[in-house]
Amino acid sequence: MLRWLIGGGREPQGLAEKSPLQTIGEEQTQNPYTELLVLKAHHDIVRFLVQLDEYRFASAGDDGIVVVWNAQTGEKLLELNGHTQKITALTTFPSLEACEEKNQLILTTSADRTVILWDCDTGRQVRKVSCFQSTVKCLIVLQRLNVWLSGGNDLCVWNQKLDLLCKTSHLSDTGISALIEIPKNCVVAAVGKELIIFRLVAPTEESLEWDILEIKRLLDHQDNILSLVNVNDVSFVTGSHVGEMIIWDILDWTVQAYECNFWDPSPQLDTQQEIKLCQKPNDISIHHFTWDEENVFAAVGRGLYVYNLHMKRVIACQKSAHDSNVLHIAKLPNRQLISCSEDGSVRIWELREKQQLAAEPVPTGFFNMWGFGRVNKQASQPVKKQQENAPPCSLELIGDLIGHSSSVEMFLYFEDHGLVTCSADHLIILWKNGERESGLRSLKLFQKLEENGDLYLAV
């Protein structure tokens, strides 16, 4: 962009090759984020963001501190110091039943092999557990059973008072990388290439003890499983390092769909050449999934794919959505998809139906009137054919957010306050809709005038 600045011919060769990367100019009329606020409190990579309520969120990262922020003002509300090493997972925790005040609690775990339960309203450490043999890598709360599970090299079950209820034997040295809850008191744990299904046995009349049993091991993945999410009531989905995506039945744990080549560039012939050039094995690992009623959105390498659950096929894709691996994606209510990547940018996409389908009949009719119908019909034939192969939808880039100078690890979307991104450059950026903020400020101004008794409405 600033070629005149950097000097004419010094454009790196690589950039030219990466030309398929869709770019958007400086004019982004649909991008609502015209205001940003940089929040600085961390001293290392910020990896996690979790929403606490309508206006608060917590951030955590490699510096071991957890910071609670006000998403509206960007004000730092609390800093929770307690972990000595980087934080590996955090999750919100439903309040204890016994507890009178319904304070928001969060559970954090760190490489220092402790788990701490925090009160986010006071900043107090409610409880701390430090009897772990290994680093806990994932946490889930099973609200139905009033227990929570920690996954490290083994899987432990805890009650709300942070008493250990039961645990599995040592599973593997790599440890559990992801955990999800599925019906029938089961959880799915991703351990290396395997998916292990455990069942929790709640205490009954016969035995007062909790127990956790390994039910099944699913060995369909060829490589390490990187992502594991619940999609809906009937299925969950896993993605592996080599780009396999498997959709499982949530009840009988059978494979519903298996996609391992859907990033195959064959449908789009024109770009095949280049894609091969830059396709490295790393580029096809599935880092993250998100979903809505119809679609699963997958972050594959540096591309984005939309897989339709009904049609069981990819309906839209953006093979090089970013310069580098996409780390996190989220679907917004308004058909928008947001992705963040190691390249330090956040991009906003919109899932659109391809226009040609709707536009097609009109010219045909028009030309028919003039007697060109035949010609046209023939011409339209190959087009249609192509369309059958080609994805029916497209992901249109409607804006990008550039602010971070290093990889954007995660983001959080607030309906009312905008977008929060966290990054390896130690910063958190609050992206806001400038117009809305301006309106809010006006509101605040007049409120203040009124408070001061200075507001007299003109008659």
Binding site: M1, L2, W4, L5, I6, G25, E26, E27, Q28, T29, N31, T34, E35, L36, L37, V38, K40, G74, G399, I402, G403, H404, S405, L427, I429, L430, K432, G434, E435, E437, S438, G439, R441, S442, L443, K444, L445, F446, K448, L449, N452, D454, L455, Y456, L457, A458
Partner: protein, 936 residues
């Protein structure tokens, strides 16, 4: 009191008012406005002849009971300043006009000597022989050893320009009152200490005498007393009496502030305020005064001495020096205050007047002025204003500011407790300011009720005298009963009374007589300032000053008073707002908008460097603001008096310097000291840095910035989009290899950068590391080093990555990359064909344009209906379109200008709503707009 046959009938000018100006035989269009200063000499800035001193100075004299009137010290303490001016003679002269009734001693009917708490008297006096005119401030200090316990002193501001004295009377009076209060407070403290010592001595003496008597009694049991014993008894009795007397004196001096407070016949509102202030002063971290009763009691241990029965003769002893009289600390503060006064009134009258008007106007815009003004100066004033004007909307006052106000102990409390003019009157005026405006709207600005004025003058001038070759006009105002009346009248009539007519007669007199002496002794000082303001300035006003009345009036009126034009608009505004920012209403009318806006760009060009409006003119139109000056002048100096000298060493140094009847270049010395004080205090001058002999010091800085900005505009055809970037809050990065050049340009361009808060401009002069997103949030103008080495590539890549947030001005390639600008605002602001040649002129031009811009932003931000839906069903689109049409039609903004105003409005909102301004940086706002490359 004093009378003389040749008194000029100062108040008898009504007959002229009937037909003020019926002379011109020529039709108006042919009549050339006369130069307003013609009577005085061809050039208003030419030095008045006859003066034997090079510039204004302050003289402190004493009427010594031993040697008579004698000069004590001058400020600046430089022989060069007063040159051959005869200080002794002048001391005699000024001490001879002390009309204060300072009676101390045994009043009839009172058993004990009574301290008379005399008010200071303020006199203006001229001496044609010396070519000197002086504002003379008499005060009395207490000295236990002096005759009648009093030592008369006076402080005089001596200038060759009588207009200056006359017109700055109010300010001078306020400032000197503060100095005087400071002296007097210190003196009371010292006096009380003195009394205590004396009491201890007496007590000791009594004990000694008592034991001696007892011994004697025991020694002779003969049943009768020896003459020696009787003598002892008498001595004892006299000591007892003396003790009682001294205790009484002590009580009097201690009860001083309280008594004064109770006795002050202020109206209820005022009293409230005074108490308010007093309590505020009490609550502030003021060690001396808040613990007022303790003040006089906490004394270091003192070993009492035996007092001889016979007192020493007064000629035997050495009288105390002024410093001894007033407690070193207070004395230093007073000196600081005086040198502040000297600094404050330096320079030409017209300069003073314009800068006063400027400040007054600035103060009026206390909501918007943080954007482009230098904050050191306005800061306290705004605080002051808010404090003194309760009905105003008070924007979020930073706690820090209230802290700043605190350390003004002595002045504050004295001000609060006396019925002095320093504080109370301006405050009152302030409150009535609104009324004036309302009135101004109803009556024409120039309209004038002669009856009122007559009344007013009547009240003022009770008598006037002249003696010998000099005329003395004396106004005595003893009665405090008149106070309410005069106040209300003053505030109403002052701003509107044209002194045009009166001046005719007066100027005759000016010519005919050798010297004028205007004297006014007012125990209730509260009366003086405005009264004087209204009546006296005219005394020295030349009759020509009204010649161009109409022309000037239009010009000035447009910018000062809210004329009816604005009323329609104002109706839609909130009332208090229109009041706050009356000067913001300029150009509310979209029609008249373009005309006045475009003219200023060219007016200064014609008479470059010369103020196009004669400074004296302003006074008349501007009386409404006059009242503000008092306030504004009060605050900085207050500040100065206390805060300015936090370090004692500094004072000592300065004292030494000023006291050593120094041979060295005192000019330098005084400059540096005063400069030090201004740096330390962040007070009055716009300019906290750089010692410059004349005027506020940053004048030079501004001049240079203006000059460089001008150069930039002439040199670069793409200056407009660059300036637009700055105004719209898009960070401008000035890229270059040479640090000096980059810094220079950054400094120059910083005059266009709106501030986020009062504290600092978001300008970073020089950075050599790659920029980060935080930098754009923090800085709006950055000087960036271009490094040729590979290391520099990172910098450039960062720049290109964040290109959407920045405009880049590459000095080495003479290129600019920034969004398109098609507005009309910046071309007016930065016209490359401008005829303005001087940096300072251009700076002022920019300031005025930006002020207009601020007022637009203010209107936009504070218009209720623009931002809130009128009813529930109104959609955001409707509101948005209303905003757009307001910006376009009412404010006359085109294209990108809208964004400038929107950005400024955002800053205003943010600033207004922030709890503590300056604590957080505003969010980085940006637009997704394409940039273009401009290249020479």
């Amino acid at each position: 009191m004093i009378s003389a046959p040749d008194v000029v009938a100062f108040t008898k000018e009504e007959e002229y008012e009937e037909e003020p100006y019926n002379e011109p035989a020529l039709p108006e269009e042919y009549s050339v406005p006369l130069f307003p200063f013609a009577s005085q000499g061809t050039n208003p800035w030419s030095k008045l002849s006859g003066a034997k001193f090079s510039r204004d100075f302050i003289l402190i004299s004493e009427f010594s009971e031993q040697v008579g009137p004698q000069p004590l010290l001058t400020i600046p303490n430089d022989t060069k300043v007063f040159g051959t001016f005869d200080l002794n003679y002048f001391s005699l002269r000024i001490m001879s006009v002390d009309y204060q009734a300072s009676f101390v001693g045994h009043p009839p009917g009172s058993a004990y000597p009574k301290l008379n708490f005399v008010e200071d008297s303020k006199v203006v006096l001229g001496d044609s022989k010396e070519g000197a005119f002086a504002y003379v401030h008499h005060l009395t200090l207490y000295d236990l050893e002096a005759r009648g316990f009093v030592r008369p002193f006076c402080m005089a501001y001596i200038s060759a320009d009588q207009h200056k004295i006359m017109q700055q009377f109010q300010e001078l009076s306020a400032e000197f009152s503060k100095a005087s209060e400071c002296l007097k407070t210190g003196n009371r403290k010292a006096f009380a200490g003195e009394l205590e010592k004396k009491l201890k001595d007496l007590d000791y003496t009594r004990t000694v005498l008592h034991t001696e008597t007892e011994i004697q009694k025991k020694a002779n049991d003969k049943g009768f007393y020896s003459s020696q014993a009787i003598e002892k008894a008498n001595e004892l009795a006299s000591v007892e009496k003396s003790i009682i007397e001294h205790q009484d004196l002590l009580k009097q001096i201690r009860s001083y502030p309280h008594r004064k407070l109770k006795g002050s016949p202020l109206c209820s509102g005022e009293t409230e305020h005074t108490q308010d202030q007093a309590s505020q002063a009490a609550t502030t971290s003021n060690p001396d005064e808040s613990a007022d009763p303790d003040l006089y009691t906490c004394r270091p241990a003192y070993t009492p001495k035996l007092i001889k029965a016979k007192s020493t003769k007064c000629f035997d002893k050495k009288l105390k020096t002024l410093e001894e009289l007033c407690d070193t600390e207070y004395f230093t503060q007073t000196l600081a205050q005086l040198s502040h006064i000297e600094h404050m009134f330096r320079g030409d009258l017209c300069y003073l007047l314009t800068s006063q008007i400027d400040r007054a106007l600035l103060k009026q815009q206390h909501i918007t002025n943080f954007l482009f003004e230098d904050f050191v100066e306005v800061d306290e004033r705004v605080a002051e204003k808010q404090e003194s004007a309760p009905p105003r909307p008070v924007p979020g006052r930073p706690p820090s500011r209230s802290l700043e106000e605190c350390p003004i102990p002595q002045v504050l409390i004295s001000v609060g407790s006396y019925k002095s003019s320093v504080e109370s009157v301006p405050i009152k005026m302030e409150q009535e300011l609104g009324d004036e405006y309302r009135e101004a709207e109803v009556t024409e600005v120039s309209s004038f009720d002669p009856q009122e004025n007559l009344d007013f003058l009547d009240m003022d001038m009770k008598g006037s005298i002249s003696s010998g070759e000099s005329i003395e006009v004396l106004g005595t105002e003893k009665s405090t009963a008149v106070l309410p009346k005069s106040d209300s009248q003053a505030s109403l009539t002052v701003p509107l009374s044209p002194q045009v007519v009166r001046s005719k007669a007066v100027s005759h007199r000016t010519i005919s007589e050798d010297s004028i002496e205007v004297l006014s002794t007012c125990p209730s000082e509260a009366l003086i300032p405005d009264d004087f303001k209204a009546s006296y300035p005219s005394a020295i006003n030349e009759e020509e000053s009204y010649a161009d009345d109409s022309e000037g009036a239009i010009h000035f009126q447009a910018s000062v008073s809210p004329p009816e034009l604005g009323e329609a608009e104002e109706g839609s505004l909130e009332n208090p707002l229109s009041q706050i920012d009356s000067s913001c209403c300029i150009g509310k009318e979209s029609d008249s908008l373009r005309v006045p806006l475009s003219t200023p760009a060219h007016t200064p060009s014609e008479q470059d460097g010369v103020v196009s409006i004669p400074p004296q003119r302003c006074r008349q139109k501007d009386q409404g603001f006059r009242v503000d000056f008092a306030v504004e002048n009060t605050s900085p100096s207050r500040d100065n008096s206390s805060e300015g000298f936090p370090a004692d060493e500094l004072d000592q140094n300065r004292l030494l310097a000023s006291r050593d009847a120094s041979k060295t270049s005192l000019d330098n010395c005084s400059d540096t000291t005063s400069n030090m004080s201004s740096v330390a205090s962040t007070s009055s001058d716009r300019t906290p840095s750089s010692a410059h002999p004349t005027g506020p010091s940053s004048e030079r800085h501004k001049k240079r910035a203006g000059q460089n900005a001008l150069k930039f505009i002439r040199q670069y055809p793409f200056a407009h989009p660059a300036i637009y970037s700055l105004l719209s809050g898009r960070t401008l990065v000035v890229l270059g290899e040479d640090e000096a050049i980059v810094r220079k340009l950054v400094t120059a361009l910083s005059i266009f950068v709106p501030s986020h808060s009062r504290f600092a401009k978001p300008v970073k002069h020089w950075v050599s590391s790659p920029l980060h997103i935080m930098d754009f949030q923090k800085w709006k103008l950055i000087g960036l080093q271009r490094v040729a080495s590979p290391a520099g590539a990172g910098t450039l890549h960062a720049l290109s990555r964040y290109s959407r947030y920045t405009s880049v001005l590459d000095l080495d390639n003479k290129a600019l990359r920034c969004p398109l600008y098609r507005g009309t605002l910046v071309p007016r602001l930065a016209d490359h064909r401008t005829q303005i040649k001087r940096g300072s002129t251009y700076y002022l031009h920019v300031q005025s344009m930006l002020t207009q811009l601020c007022s637009k932003a203010f209107l936009y931000a504070f218009c209720h209906h623009l931002h809130l839906p009128a009813h529930d069903k109104e959609t955001e689109e409707v509101v948005a379109s209303r905003q757009a049409s307001f910006l376009k039609l009412n404010l006359g903004l085109v294209n990108e200008d809208v964004k400038v105003v929107q950005y400024l409005a955002e800053l205003l909102k943010l600033h207004y709503t922030q709890e503590a301004p300056g604590t957080s940086h505003p969010t980085l706002r940006f637009d997704y707009v394409p940039s273009f490359l401009y290249k020479i």
